[in-house]
Subunit: 457 residues, 2 copies
């Protein structure tokens, strides 16, 4: 018995290394039997490729398949290349269909051919059917291994079927009831079955009100729906409402994590990649970061142009320069607060497109409060800390209040606008907002300064 | 049968409103029976309080309890205040213990007293036990309703027990095997039971290698572990390894979502709140946003001071001002890319503290590539678009390269440092990094300018 917290740490990897060097294969097998597949995969990640291949061979066949699924794409590729066709067939026969599909999506063409050649006839057909769906669809994330019942079966017969099927179905706890032509007509859980009499008929105890997804539905919405309803599995039907597969909660939760990582990366001006941080190469990381940096660098031409057109004003009242970073920074922060709050609320379903006026009204009031507070403190700071005149302090404080207002409104409207035209709201996060708000705040600053300071009039 | 995508939209709320006005209660009850609890709760959110209370009374008792759990805290409070003691008792008796605990944590003291007074003896004890654990611990998120088996039971006896308990246990699919004194010794799933012979003994088919959490473990780590292992439930034990409760996957997934929202809010300089966006009042939103805005505004004193100390340099070579927003913006973006990438990798467990040198080495190489690319483009842009002299363009381009390097290193080291000293890495995201990097980039800019431009020497 053990606690999951004790499983990490490289000390353990060192001990395994020792056993491996002493060729204590039996002991290694014993040690591995104490761990769950994700932990073994993580341990393997700390070994050289050659050692990793050796260690993998030590695992019992069913554990080997589970560990294989948890490895990173490049490790999977090395492993497959080291497998004989016979061994590859064995591993593939242990994999669930959805895991095989994911594997195929990650592998280069040559490896994919070898995988398909070594999969059995039935799996190959199921795989090819799933591969036909677009990458972001419910169809592409489903598995075809589920328990299907008929409405005229008794509970005892249903249990018979479940027992027979249990070995190679990903979940047995939710069973789907269909007509002979696969038309989905109901759902029944093992819990329902356990609570029913042995001779009760499935048609009488099933829930007819099935919530389902269609193959072409967006996979993020499907994952969100499953998390909202706390479903263990969701059936996927074709256009004729015929059951073609199910999505299980573990895959749904992986999709949610991936989508959140993508959103966060977009918020930080990173072009999303699929790979874990340390397994992404230098060039690949560079390629995911340089586009936004370049774009934002070039867009700074606007701020540059504004500053050079006010060069004479800045040389007349030099202290104006001192406040530029503060004004731009504060406006940028205020704008990104609003945009990130709205982006997250949209993705959690807390805000819908119809709420646009409620959002605007809320941000307007918050912006006024923030603007007043920041304007007041900015005024005091300018006089006391930066030694500005009252008139300059007034310009700074008015600009602060105005730009915070504009920043918050831009921050809430741009993500909603992006969603309206079918773009991902997350691209309207901090980097983009900041660039717009930088330009706006300089324009406001110089307009207010020109209006209030006589020397610039 | 219906598809979850069709469930949203205010048209439906309008139709319900019509039925309510015509007092068509039977029809309303029929309409609700087509929906799942989270959808009904969402629909209720679109009604006035009075109508909502009316609609709630129309629901069948068990649905009412499920819907109640899904409502927002303020709605729950109005509902409870409108309930008679007898009706409150009925609703409470339908709730799972963990949902009641969550309810109590959200309610003001007066309402809590009334809830505890109306809960039955057994629940009250369980609730009080759970409430004693700190808010971020595994103990506080567990439920005490699970199926417990003994190792000398047969499979048939186990099914008997499950059938007897099924009604009021949150999950029946994972059962825990303990000694009579509750010492946890194994776990067995309904799937295992279904695949075993009726007269097999639990002790022979159970998995002894149980992964468990202790009551005081951090709830985010517990939720992460459950998502990693794809567990439906995880047992929670006290210091004597006695089973005290279980954490179910739906609560774990809620915790993950909450923690991610918190991280994202921290990244956007927002003090996290628990409430959904549109249900947070203006003052509350203001209070969650103004602290960071003030702090960042005041920290701009550094950039202001640097600019005023170089006032004479800026007036001598006025074009230097033009590049300030671009330099600060680019460095800020480069830094937040690195910090967000590291923060996310830390929270996904892709990066551990021991990887600090691997992270540093990776960011160093990426920073060099980004620095060279940005420096080169910046040089061209300064000459072609901004009309700078070669020497000024050189200063700009060198500063770009140097500050990008510094920004990336600060961006990756600060979150790791925060984690090292026990802080949340997410506070070291964009706003904080940007402030540091703003100051650094101005210092570098003027140092390089003073060194290279003879008029400033």
């Amino acid at each position: 018995m053990k606690q999951w917290m004790e499983l990490q740490g490289e000390e353990f990897a060192l001990r395994l290394q020792g056993m491996l060097e002493k060729k204590q294969y039996r002991e290694l097998r014993g040690a591995f039997s104490l761990f769950e597949a994700p932990d073994i995969a993580q341990l393997f990640g700390q070994f050289e490729e050659k050692e990793m291949l050796l260690l993998f061979r030590i695992l019992p066949k069913d554990t080997a398949a589970e560990v294989f699924v948890e490895m990173e794409a490049d490790q999977k590729e090395s492993l497959i290349n080291s497998f004989s066709d016979a061994y590859l067939q064995e591993v593939l026969s242990e994999l669930y269909i959805d895991d095989t599909v994911e594997l195929i999506e990650e592998m280069p063409a040559g490896v994919v051919k070898r995988i398909l050649r070594n999969a059995d006839e039935e799996s190959r057909e199921a795989i090819n059917r799933i591969l036909r769906y677009p990458k972001d669809s419910a169809g592409s994330m489903m598995t075809t291994e589920y328990v299907r019942l008929y409405k005229d079966m008794t509970v005892a017969e249903a249990f018979e079927r479940i027992r027979r099927d249990a070995y190679d179905k990903e979940t047995v706890y939710t069973c789907y009831v269909t007509e002979r032509n696969r038309l989905l007509i109901g759902v029944v859980t093992v819990r329902d079955l356990l609570m029913a009499e042995e001779d009760a008929v499935i048609g009488d105890i099933m829930t007819e009100n099935v919530i389902f997804a269609e193959t072409m539905d967006d996979r993020e919405s499907v994952a969100n729906a499953m998390s909202k309803y706390d479903f263990l599995a969701l059936p996927v039907v074709d256009k004729g409402k015929r059951l073609v597969g199910i999505v299980t909660y573990d895959d749904a939760s992986d999709v949610l994590q991936e989508e959140i990582t993508e959103d966060i990366e977009k918020m930080a001006a990173i072009v999303p990649t699929d790979k874990p941080y340390l397994r992404t190469g230098t060039w690949e990381t560079w390629k995911s970061r340089i586009p936004w940096l370049m774009l934002l660098l070039l867009s700074a031409t606007f701020t540059g142009a504004i500053l050079s057109s006010y060069e004479s004003a800045l040389s007349k009242v030099a202290i104006l320069t001192v406040f530029i970073p503060m004004l731009m920074g504060t406006a940028g922060n205020a704008g990104s607060q609003a945009s990130v709050a709205v982006i997250r609320a949209l993705s959690l379903g807390e805000v819908q497109m119809r709420d646009v006026f409620a959002v605007l009204w809320k941000e307007l009031r918050v912006a006024l409060l923030c603007g007043i507070a920041l304007g007041a403190v900015g005024f005091g700071k300018a006089i006391l800390l930066d030694g500005a005149s009252v008139m300059v302090a007034l310009v700074v404080s008015l600009t602060l209040a105005l730009t915070v207002l504009m920043a918050k409104l831009a921050g809430c409207l741009l993500p909603l606008g992006a969603k309206r035209v079918g773009l991902d709201p997350a691209v309207m996060a901090s980097p983009f907002i900041t660039t717009i708000v930088d330009t706006l705040s300089l324009l406001v600053y110089f307009a207010v300064a020109t209006a209030l300071i006589p020397e610039l009039g």
